[in-house]
Amino acid sequence: MRTTRILEWLGRLYIWLLLAFLYLPIIIMALMSFNVSPFYQLPFEWTTEWYASLWQNDQLISATWNSVEIAVITTIICVLLGSAASLALYRYEFRGRKFLQALLFPPIAIPWLITGTAMLIFFFGVGIGRGLFAILLGHVALALPYVIVVVSARLQTFAPELEEAARSLGANQWQVTDRVTLPWIMPGVIAGGLFAFAVSFDQFVVSYFLSTPGQTTLPVEIYAAIRKGFTPEINAVSTIIIVVSMALMLLTARFFKFGGAK
């Protein structure tokens, strides 16, 4: 009895330590975005000054919007292309299918530093150069394999008889996809989209290589700002982003349970 209770207690302690490890730095950062002192000095004095001055910081705001836009467009493109590719890989037997599938994994494993360098050189060579369009292309290339892997995993749980049943009832290829297959893979598509959004929105290395001073994303802008000298505005913008993205994640998890059965 006593050992069970001790084990139970240790287990709880472990969970709390883990949560602290994950969230403490974030909580401190969020708190400091409301502290008067720009140098993390205590005692804590409440202010919204940093949020007000963030509002004035055009560079940071424009970089934030760039990041959001690029992440949203990347997500849309990757979800459309990735789901279509997953369906094709699932439905059709064609020459080189296995080979193509195998080729999807290495880009996930190749360090972003190397991918970024390669893209920079390539984009210069073909005349795309640097800038927001180059960043978007780079992000799509980085995020696409994630979507295909996640959606394909979901498709593995799909019973092929469902498509056959739909066709036997007179449904054409579009109706089958629209009414039977897509509803089934939707949790995978949502999860894949979240991955794509995260890969793009968090992306620093590749964006850093492909951005120019006017055309940049938030992570690159934060990095540049920190090098110039840290300001609590960065705490403020980070706090806003954390709140928004956590709310998004919680909502999705609540409604879709990440690819599990409904």
Binding site: E161, S168, L169, A171
Partner: protein, 355 residues
């Protein structure tokens, strides 16, 4: 509604001949069972008729119209799958409505037809349920309602009762037969369960290794099997092998067995005789005089299995184990080790060409 004609159908997957020159005429409104062991080609044949796969050679006609190159969605067939294949994201009513809905039927028509189909399978009140809230038997009925609501020309069933337990299966057999009679649809039914094939169908086709072994009404196949395979796959049979005497065979030890049914074979050819276990009478050595013309063999009971309404005796005779099934009429039971005489009439003996 329409009949289905399959002529000289062949389909290979690599070196494997899944269907080898199969021809069957499925009569309009009939209930047809395709029976065979796994790998016999029965499911391949069903999928060819459905249109999931196209043949290498041969012709498939539904209602006289060649369909072997017509894609499945244009064939107007109804199919029930082994695992039901109900759409998990839709309610029962939406599942049944699917075929009408993709055709663009008006909503009011769909609602009325769906209700009629659900009433037919006695699920009229469960339209708003989801498939996962139903029992196996109920899912089976939904799958059936979904397949027939579009008024298909042919109903195809792929081992539809395989996933149900024994008692439910018998209920569904009766139910399926009732619905089939009520709408009079040509029905082709794949099964590996011989009892199911015997009780439900008007005609049975037995397949083996991609070839049609025999086809005909259940009684004919059971009473007049044309091959050892047909005799032993559909029901149980004792097989004797020897040389044809024209109207029977002579075993290696010289014993003659008279056959009153089956193939006409020239004397001297290799041949077999098949006898159903329930056609053989078993008695102790003493007593019972020889009936005229009866086939008579002596042997020794090696084992008796009591199954309530009947008993199965295993009788050793010249290195061969024979099976005899005796109804439980209250008569004295024979003990293991007992010497016995087996008698049966030539009319119960079917002569089969060897090979």
């Amino acid at each position: 509604m329409a009949g289905v004609q399959v002529s000289n159908l062949s389909r290979s997957f690599g070196a494997h001949k899944a269907l080898d020159d199969v021809s069957i005429d499925f009569a309009d409104g009939g209930f047809y069972a395709l029976l065979g062991p796994s790998g016999s080609g029965k499911t391949t044949l069903l999928r060819q008729i459905a249109g999931f796969d196209f043949p290498d050679f041969g012709r498939i006609a539904i209602g006289g119209e060649s369909v072997e190159r017509v894609p499945i969605e244009k064939r107007r067939i109804g199919m029930v799958f082994q695992n039901y294949a109900l759409f998990p994201n839709m309610s029962v009513a939406d599942n049944v409505a699917f075929g009408l809905s993709v055709r663009g039927e008006p909503k009011a028509v769909i609602a009325a037809e769906v209700q009629r189909a659900l009433d037919l399978v006695q699920l009229g009140k469960l339209g708003s349920r989801r498939p996962h809230q139903l029992s196996g038997g109920q899912r089976q009925r939904v799958a059936l309602a979904r397949a027939i609501v579009t008024k298909p020309r042919v109903l195809l069933l792929d081992e539809p009762l395989g996933a149900l337990d024994k008692a439910l299966r018998v209920d569904m057999q009766i139910e399926l037969k009732r619905i089939q009679r009520e709408i009079g649809i040509t029905t082709i039914f794949v099964t590996h369960d011989q009892e199911e094939a015997l009780t439900m169908s008007d005609r049975i086709g037995i397949l083996r290794d991609g070839r049609l072994v025999q086809e005909g009404p259940p009684e004919e196949i059971y009473d007049r099997p044309k091959s050892e395979f047909a005799a032993t796959f559909l029901g149980d049979a004792n097989i004797f092998r020897g040389d044809s005497t024209g109207n029977g065979i002579r075993l290696q030890d010289g014993t003659a067995i008279a056959a009153g049914a089956g193939a006409k074979l020239a004397a001297g050819a290799k041949a077999s005789c098949a006898v159903r276990p329930e056609r053989i009478r078993i008695a102790t050595d003493t007593g019972t005089p020889n009936a005229p013309n009866a086939n008579v063999l002596r042997g020794q009971v090696s084992k008796r299995i009591f199954a309530g309404n009947n008993s199965t005796y295993f009788v050793e005779r010249a290195g061969q184990t024979l099976k005899v099934i005796v109804q439980n009429t209250g008569a004295e039971r024979l003990a293991e080790g007992q010497d016995v005489v087996l008698r049966w009439s030539p009319e119960s003996t079917v002569l089969i060409a060897a090979g």
